[in-house]
Symmetry: C2
Subunit: 230 residues, 2 copies
């Protein structure tokens, strides 16, 4: 496999995908066109608006982008493409749309056979075993929480450390992931912003600027350095 699952598309104060540019050039090397999957619709923007945003970034690295929604036969479009990018937004909306159109399995099959995949945030969540560790609000009801399982664990993008100054009794991210582990025996990778998972063939590493927090059932959470093989 040849994939990147990133915590976020945009670093604080940065521009869209800028911090990942070098990695993206490498991921999609030799490709003239990729497909963008706009179904997560951040802030409810349209598929067209969202695809335009992706097009603008990829124009700068000489790659053409077509939105998956533009095709009549979307399964065939996935089968014929060489690479894919799924943008962030709402994971429930993204998964619901892919499941309803029977595209999750088609996409998984092509990526497992070596086609390049870039996911950011919600697009990374669907690369995990299931979407049960998303931070998103369940604004729609998907037919299933199961995802592509491109890596043998779940992701928690935008992982955020507890803020000791917050006078608020909502759960911390760590509390939520520990609750997940009381009901599931699945490793969770807490990806801080600035980090991503890189898989080349069977080698899976954490990359980026921050340490990554790992959660496993019946273990204390622990930190691993960028470059660690998972």
């Amino acid at each position: 496999m040849n994939i990147i699952l990133a915590s976020t598309s945009t670093l604080f104060g940065g521009t869209y995908l800028a911090y990942l540019k070098e990695e993206i050039v490498n991921l999609f090397k030799g490709m003239e066109e990729i497909i963008f999957i706009p179904f997560a619709r951040p802030g409810g923007i349209s598929h067209e608006e969202y695809t335009e945003k992706a097009k603008q970034f990829f124009a700068g690295i000489q790659i053409n982008v077509r939105g998956l929604h533009e095709f009549d036969d979307q399964a065939k479009a996935i089968q014929e493409a060489k690479g894919y990018f799924t943008g962030g937004g709402n994971t429930f909306l993204l998964a619901k749309t892919l499941h309803e159109m029977d595209l999750m399995a088609v996409l998984k099959h092509e990526i497992q056979n070596g086609k390049a995949y870039l996911g950011c945030s919600a697009g990374s969540n669907i690369g995990g075993l299931n979407m049960k560790t998303t931070n998103d609000m369940p604004i729609v009801y998907p037919a299933s929480f199961e995802c592509m399982g491109l890596v043998p664990f779940n992701l928690n993008p935008h992982y955020l450390d507890p803020n000791p100054d917050l006078k608020h009794n909502g759960e911390t991210r760590e509390t939520r992931i520990m609750e997940f582990l009381t009901q599931n025996d699945t490793k969770v990778i807490g990806l801080r912003e600035g980090n991503w998972i890189r898989r080349i063939g069977n080698c899976i590493t954490t990359e980026g600027t921050e340490p990554t927090r790992v959660f496993e059932k019946n273990k204390q959470p622990y930190e691993i350095a960028p470059g660690t093989v998972l």
Copy 2:
């Protein structure tokens, strides 16, 4: 109806249910025993541990508490009880358990016929039309997101205003609720900590110390003062 749907069980620096004590005494007036619904299991604690916590508070106001999990016939226990308290925790786990045991409809029926209900956080979410505006992590897959609809809107407990100092690109609570409104035409009440919804008969008011933020499709969010009739 006679219900309280509270944002949180515990204010920052306070003790369990302390800020709601006077309201709770009034809600359950004349009752010697109520049923506690422990299925949301905050932090994964057991039904027994969680029920013990509720028992301790209610002992102080001379009300006995029995956990719903203690009964062999839980539907019958709900039908025979005079009042209910559903504690906070994970809304997905709470809704999954109630749906699986066919108890959501039983509970709704009794409360609509006048029995007293107190919900906190996840216990308040299930009082709304559906759980699509919970903040919780989807750690399990419920058979449905539909809830009791004790009020004609959805709740967002622990409503949190955007923090302009946060250098993080996760969505704000407001962004998430606005995304919900792109997919649903359902009013959402953003309940800040310290606030609760009180319904007596057909009169529904917001109560507590903070203004309450209201979200409706195709409208700017707006604030209402404590005591406002909804």
